[in-house]
Amino acid sequence: MASSYNAKEEDGHVPGSAGHGGAAEAKSKKPDNTAFKQQRLPAWQPILTAGTVLPAFFVIGLIFIPIGIGLFVTSNNIKEFEIDYTGVNSDSPCYSCATNASWNNTTPCLCSLNFTLSQPFESNVYMYYGLSNFYQNHRRYVKSRDDSQLYGDPNALKSPSKECEPYRMSGAQPIAPCGAIANSLFNDTLELYHIEPNGTRNLIPLVKKGIAWWTDKHVKFRNPEGNDNLTVAFQGTTKPVNWRNPVYELDPSDPENNGFINEDFIVWMRTAALPTFRKLYRIIQKKSGPTPTLPSGNYVLNIAYNYPVTSFDGRKRMILSTISWMGGKNPFLGIAYITVGSICFFLGGGFKQAALNIWSVHGILGGVELSD
């Protein structure tokens, strides 16, 4: 479609044709002499040389190794205890629960595990549940939620997003909260008892508040508005298929912790990135006084076993952990930093030697001789 004709050119280039078309003297086409147009913008021209790269490596090494050591030490100082309570083996106390567990059970299957902490846990202790081989990051799973509904949008409450299928409607009633994520809410209940040397079992108080992100609890999740009474607010909706209780009765002990802003629910709704994950379950507050939060000794974990994972080779764990300035126990970062730091450090040194050799032997960087 492009035409090669250009009317301007028909006009032009005959400077001598004065008198034609009132030919005003063609103005100079001389390009402006600006640094930009002449491509002479002042510029910094870094060149990779031994002089710049090697110190950089050293610096990286020098920075990374201490960070790595710091991380490693910190991570090692964090106390962590993990116990698998799935009950895969027949000798496990939860074996029978595991084999029988299903959503349909009306009464929880109870089992308990004994374990021993060899070291005391200081400061706040965090209790996590961990799931393995659980694909919370599967695309269909991830998208199976309705953020509008969870944000308390009345329209979405009554007609949830299509993404929630097949957990969108139960009969004619919309499910609140809809979707596969909500439907599969982790519903094991864990209780922790400390067995004192004299054999008494002390229930360790577990705090269920403050386990969710602040933004989630206060921004992202919101109960339907208009009514203080959640039962009324959720009227016209039905509970997710697998749930025992409707959403407004998730936490019978605390009315403020019900509906979409139930923290256990919020934690569950923040889907994990990887198929093996842990989620914060409870916090064990530091006791006032010198006694450690969890002294060393024997403990019993009581489990109301509701959540079936054996069908897909899933695993359930309970984790107790203290934290530090860098979060939880994370040996990976420390080791990675030390490794990378040392590699950089030694690379730098090695290169320096190599570069020096090359210098002296070939003089490549010194007196460069050009072929032309």
Binding site: M1, Y135, R270, S321, W325
Partner: protein, 1191 residues
Amino acid sequence: MAFWRRNTLVERERHVKANARDYNDKFSYTDNHIKTSKYNILTFLPLNLFEQLQRVANAYFIVLLILQLIPAISSLSWFTTIVPLLLVLLITAVKDATDDYFRHKNDKQVNNRQSQVLIRGSLQNEKWMNVRVGDIIKLENNQFVAADILLLCSSEPNGLCYIETAELDGETNLKVRQALTVTSDLGDVSKLVDFDGEVVCEPPNNKLDKFIGTLCWRDSKYPLDNDRMLLRGCVLRNTECCFGMVIFAGLQTKLMQNCGITKFKRTSIDKLMNTLVLWIFAFLICMGVILAIGNTIWESRIGRRFQVFLPWTEFQSSAVFSGFLTFWSYIINLNTVVPISLYVSVEVLRLGHSYFINWDKRMYHGPTNTAAVARTTTLNEELGQVQFIFSDKTGTLTQNIMVFSKCSINGQTYGDIYDEFDQKMENTEGTACVDFSFNPLCDRRFKFYDSSLVDAVKLEDPAMQEFFRLLALCHTVMPEEKTEGHLVYQAQSPDEAALVTAARNFGFVFRARTPETITLCEMGQAVAYQLLAILDFNNVRKRMSVIVRNPQGQIKLYSKGADTVIFDRLDPSSEDLMYTTSEHLSEFGGEGLRTLALAYKDLDEKEFEVWMEKLQFAGTVIENREDRLAVLYEEIEQGLKGATAIEDKLQEGVPETITCLNLADIKIWVLTGDKLETAMNIGYSCNMLRDDMNEVFVMSGHTLLEVQQQLRSAKEHILGLSRVGSAGDVEKSDMFADSVFEETIIAEYALVINGHSLAHALEPQLEHVLLDLACLCKTVICCRVTPMQKAQVVELVKRHKRAVTLAIGDGANDVSMIKTAHIGVGISGQEGMQAALASDYSFAQFRYLRRLLLVHGRWSYFRMCHFLCYFFYKNFAFTLVHFWYGFFCGFSAQTVYDQWFITLFNIVYTSLPVLAMGLFDQDVNDHISLRHPSLYRPGQQNLLFNKRQFFLCTLQGVCTSFLLFFIPYGAFSVMVREDGSHFSDQQAFSVTIATSLVIVVSVQIGLDTHYWTAVNHFFIWGSLTLYFVILFALQSNGMFGIFPSHFPFVGTARNCLSEKSVWLVILLTTVVCVVPGLVVSFLRIDLFPTPTDKVRHQLQSRKRQRPQEQNLRQSRRTSSRRSAYAFSHQQGYGELITSGKNMRTSRVSTARSAQRTQHSSNWIENVLKRKNEVSCISDESTEAPEKSDRT
């Protein structure tokens, strides 16, 4: 109305009646309004959109968009594709709109030009666009012809008028058009008003040299042909005014009909890019298949059992079907490996590079006020890969301005300037010119620097006088004296004009001529010579002579010609003179001047009469007339006077440019219509041919076998010599004559081949031999080639050598070559605009080619390659994270990133830094590029971006994506926030990887940028800042409050980026991703430095020192080569003169030529017949050799 419209579509015949708008309106011919624009305000959107969606890339993204709308497949929201796509479409649309706006503006300007139209009995000023078919319009001197018009009458006698057709065919010489005799005396408005002739003619077509029609007027019919037509685009010259009737107007004019669709040239990078995109596409499908298989396995082994939590949908009846759906989902997810913005970014870069070419003040030629123009914006990087340059000679290498610069008269040379120490001086601007003020008729533009010649002339030395008399008499120049003393010479070759002008300034003014006389003004006195005969020039004779009778009654023969021919015919008595002169000629030739020998002889009255009778007899014989004439001419031309040297001025800086381009390993072939000698001469003067070359092969065979023989022996010569040790295996050498072997030849050879040999050599069986031989030679000169052959040669190289070719020329005869070559460059100089219009780049001087290639081309290539490498790297690093994640999310096509990040990554977060690099990066600056031509070589060898480089940069991308995924993976598998809450969630993971990615690619581009201007800083830091700003904005409460389901990442950035451990992960990832690349490039620079690296290092180490200019100018050869005959001349002009056919009635000489008017009507026809020979230099030059060969 509609009926007539349809009729015009199949117009078979055109009827136009003068002064009858009503009659002509019946046919609805197009008016003179032209429209080159494509859109108007209303049609722009639909038309432009439609056009854009036809492009493959855009169509691909439309398909993706459709895929994304299928819920079962869609793994990404529709906006991830549509936002970039819209942006891409928008940018293109804006560009198209701007282009069209300028077209509108140009159209408007042309349409509003004024012309004088005869309306209702009087001349009225009318805009061009209102001129209609059938109107009679008046044109004045130097005006553009407004439409295709039939010439009715003119101010000149016999209805003649002169036009310049530079716009149409690029020829600047004047052409004659003549009105029909019946209409030629209508030269008056009152008579024209009554003119009601009707023209019946062919429908509009694009043949510039053909027109068939008849004029019906006063009940008679007159045939019309092209010589009666003035076509739109021509300029009226040397004619006061003329009247014409509009036949074709506006878009139906031949000029507009010739504006065809321009063929788009594509660069090799373009082609490579397309191949690579296909590869990437195949790679994408492979990944899709792998992941789909993975999905099938996962669904059947785990997913099937995971149904307690995630039941299969109704679509997903089986694991295999799920895999199938996943395949498409992954195609959508991973589509960003084929970057949507790639094509647009590449276009933007090229546009920018083109602007830099347009803006370069070092490619601006002040005297002609021409800046370099990149007429095509798509070829810039190819300028950095040129291996072959095909150059025209005349007007390209040379200025096509002949200057009389030296002469040798009677054994004495003139023209050199000496300083006070008797040392030869270089001719510089400051040198004082000789003052010619003694001569009132002198040409003020003529410059001569040696005053001794003027002094000698003033002494009235007879030899001196004869010398200039000869120059003033022996030629075929036509004088034109408009006002007393203001002489203009119309010469058909510039050499002649130069000689006659020289004579004029030295006091032998050629003033007027009639068929029988030549009037000179010798040192102020008018002298009339009787012209007895002109013994015309031809290629075989290589000389021309005139026989004149001077006022004293003596008959004299003056002749000038090639030294060899003249020397052969010299009287033995002047042998001494011959030797001296011959020495001088060699000297002149050595300086690259064109030389010519002059001789004269006194003729006996009787001798002449006898000869004349013979001549007249021979003239009547039809058979072998030419031969006989030649024999006779030979007979009489026998005595030497001196020699002249004319400088065919090379354009400024040509030898330097050629030397420099040679150092850059660019082979320069000269393809010229000129004769062998002239071409070789120029070859020597611009350093392409040198005396120290081992051999210059001249191919001039006339038959296929001869040519074959010559080519073979030349090749054997080269190959035989270069492998002295192994003379035995000559047969083998044929096989070795490939590119590898070429490089090993150290000796320098040159090949000169003329047109008819070339015709044979280009035949299929010989073309390989020719090509091999030509590539073994340092220099190739093809002379006497036709425009077609020029194109064939280019085509040959283009086809068999996988090399980028560049053709440079200035004339219409170069157009074919310019269009054939990968890159066409037009010199917008002397010979009109034809070449420049057909070219991709145009500038005023050959020497700018050096800057165009070595600076702009190199930079463009360098930038484009780095840009592409980085672009692919970036997209692979970005996209493949999804691939790795596939293994951990059940191959479910779950994306790692936020959808908004995917949408914005390419177009917002990373586009500007890479564009800045693509626009401004320079490894070395322009001075260094020019000083080290060898830096150009990587481009020719395609080193900076090829499949290997592509593989390496994608590999880097893949590795980066691997690290980008697995380092956070390692960290996140057990990550806990500082407040103990769990942290290994998908959104935090996503934000961490995305942030790492943005930082890694920013650091990487920082390392890849060689030239950090403020713009680079601004864009890189700006992009990083912008990333964080947008990140926090998109994850803010406000956005979530408005669209909860579109911004589910609310608060993630805040929670995530406030963690120290996240920053530690980001730092680690960045270092680990960047360091290996750094190590590799550092090692490469140290161990295998490229020339560029060396230069950069050298510069760095010598930063303080001012770089001293390397002098590329090699010393002018001091050779003994005899440069030969200099005429660029055609036969037949002499005859025209003696017949008086081309004489114009000039006011000054009217009295003398009164007797001529009676036979004027038929000489004009002769002129018109002759016209082709006189004016169509390009055609003539192609036919002439064949003609002369056969004789």
